[in-house]
C-alpha cells in the first residue's frame, strides 16, 4: 500500500490537509499526519475530527505543551500518538511521498 506522509506546521491550511487526506484515503493510500509547531493548534479546531477516520494522526508532544495545550483532548489521538520529532523522521523515511502544510 502506498503511504503519504504529511507534516502540518502552519495553522493556515487545515482545509487543504483534510481534503488531501480524504482524497488519498479514497484512493486506498495510507495517510500519516504529524502536527508540529503552531500546527498543533489545529487539533482544537472543530473540523479536525474529519481526519480521524482517514489518517493515522501524530502530535508533537513538545509543541503541544509549548502552545499551552497540555491536558486538552484531541479527537483520534491517544497517549501513544503524542510523539517526538523522531516519529516525523520515521515518517519521512517510510512514506512514499511527503507533503508539508
Amino acid at each position: 500500500m502506498a503511504k503519504l506522509g504529511i507534516m502540518v506546521r502552519d495553522t493556515k491550511y487545515l482545509e487543504y490537509v483534510i481534503n488531501t487526506a480524504k482524497a488519498a484515503h479514497t484512493k486506498g493510500i495510507q495517510v500519516e499526519i504529524f502536527f508540529t509547531g503552531k500546527g498543533v493548534l489545529l487539533t482544537q479546531e472543530p473540523n479536525f475530527k474529519e481526519l480521524v477516520d482517514v489518517a493515522n494522526l501524530y502530535v508533537c508532544d513538545v509543541s503541544f505543551r509549548a502552545n499551552g495545550l497540555e491536558g486538552k483532548e484531541v479527537p483520534g489521538v491517544g497517549f501513544k500518538q503524542f510523539v517526538t520529532q523522531a516519529r516525523n523522521a520515521e515518517m519521512i523515511e517510510d512514506c512514499d511521498r511527503y507533503l508539508v502544510f
Binding site: 493556515k12 487543504y16 482524497a23 484512493k27 493510500i29 511527503y98 507533503l99 502544510f101
Partner: protein, 56 residues
C-alpha cells in the same frame, strides 16, 4: 527526476526564483489557492512525481 511544485499561497519573488533554479523552463506546478481544487487529481499528481515541494 520529476518535481512537482505545490503552491499553497501566491508565490513571492523568492519562491519563483527557487522554482526557476530547480526546474528551469520545464516546471510542473499545482496551485491550491484561489481556485477550485480537484483533490483526487492533486493526490495523483503527487504520486506521479518523484519529488514534491510544498512552498510556504
Amino acid at each position: 527526476m520529476k518535481i512537482l511544485h505545490v503552491l499553497k499561497s501566491e508565490p513571492d519573488k523568492t519562491v519563483n526564483k527557487f522554482i526557476d533554479i530547480i526546474s528551469g523552463e520545464d516546471k510542473d506546478i499545482f496551485v491550491l489557492y484561489d481556485t477550485e481544487v480537484d483533490w483526487e487529481k492533486f493526490v495523483d499528481e503527487v504520486f506521479e512525481h518523484d519529488k514534491v515541494i510544498c512552498w510556504w
